[in-house]
């Protein structure tokens, strides 16, 4: 099929809305729930960006898009504001047990993350190893150092350099707790 790099085929869902297989829906749902909770308690304003779409046909009378295509993302999926600081991250799931492959991340996204780090933003990955039921936060600067020749990162290295995120009732995945410990305090 003709999906651009970094965009996986959407997967069918039993829900009314269509969901995307880009990073596995569960992690995305967990993060959306977490971000909604952060907003609710006035802690942070972090959003998932809309999926980039190239619209090619519109029925103007019905205000309906009748043809459009998935486009490559040029930035990360999530960004926002926490305690005056710019937050920027990418979230991915992998079924791999022993490594995290970068093939689902578009080169533009990696470039973007390098710029964000250089300009003082807080930039990280949230990576879920679905077969292990483990979710890690790893700073982008740390992950970039671990990329091997095959553009993947060993699970053991992520475990060593990253932070295991526990799953709770709410916030579902309290990733800002890690950020707070590293960059925190007003």
């Amino acid at each position: 099929m003709n999906y651009p790099k970094g965009v996986k085929a959407p997967i069918k869902s039993t829900k009314k809305d269509i969901v995307y297989g880009n990073r596995g829906m569960d992690l995305e749902e967990d993060l959306n729930t977490t971000n909604a909770y952060y907003r609710q308690i006035d802690k942070a304003y972090i959003y998932k960006k809309p999926t980039p779409i190239k619209i090619t046909k519109v029925d103007y009378k019905k205000a309906k898009i009748t043809e459009a295509f998935f486009a490559s993302p040029s930035t990360t999926d999530y960004n926002g504001l926490w305690q005056g600081k710019y937050i920027d991250f990418e979230a991915k799931e992998t079924k791999n047990k022993h490594s995290f492959p970068l093939k689902n991340i578009h080169p533009h996204q990696l470039e973007h993350m390098k710029h964000i780090i250089k300009h003082g933003g807080i930039c990280f990955f949230i990576i879920r190893f679905t077969t292990r039921m483990e979710t890690y936060l790893i700073l982008a600067c740390d992950l970039f150092e671990l990329i091997d020749d095959e553009a993947s990162v060993a699970y053991d290295k992520i475990k060593e350099k990253g932070y295991l995120l526990e799953e709770k009732w709410q916030p579902r995945i309290d990733y800002l707790k890690v950020i707070e410990e590293k960059f925190g305090g007003r």
Copy 2:
């Protein structure tokens, strides 16, 4: 038509891609060009977010969206990072000569902007009065104070409290110059 509040009918264009009438395309193009220039000179990483779309039908074999609708934006159109600071703004054009009507701005967007101000982000509007060929930057906190009973803001007030942005070759509209003068210096 059934466009959500804050979303205007898309307008037809002679270009291949469809363009949106949400804020008048010229201003959006000017800002996209400006932001691309800022990235090119490594000054700031500010992007327009993708248009929020609710996808309802997909042809999976062809990786094609066959039915989708325009959705209401819950945040502003532009955000990003400049000198370690979180930047967040909304851009609008108006044909009105004497006031800027807020009717094209979704209440969620105004709420969002209030949160951003409170949490230390730099938040503003870029407003173009097309009949006057004038474009102003006005800080969101200043604009909020000027909103009258009819949810509009007088042109004279914007002229007084805002900053006239000159249009140049490049950057097309150097809005960060204003921000630099007000918040600037590393």
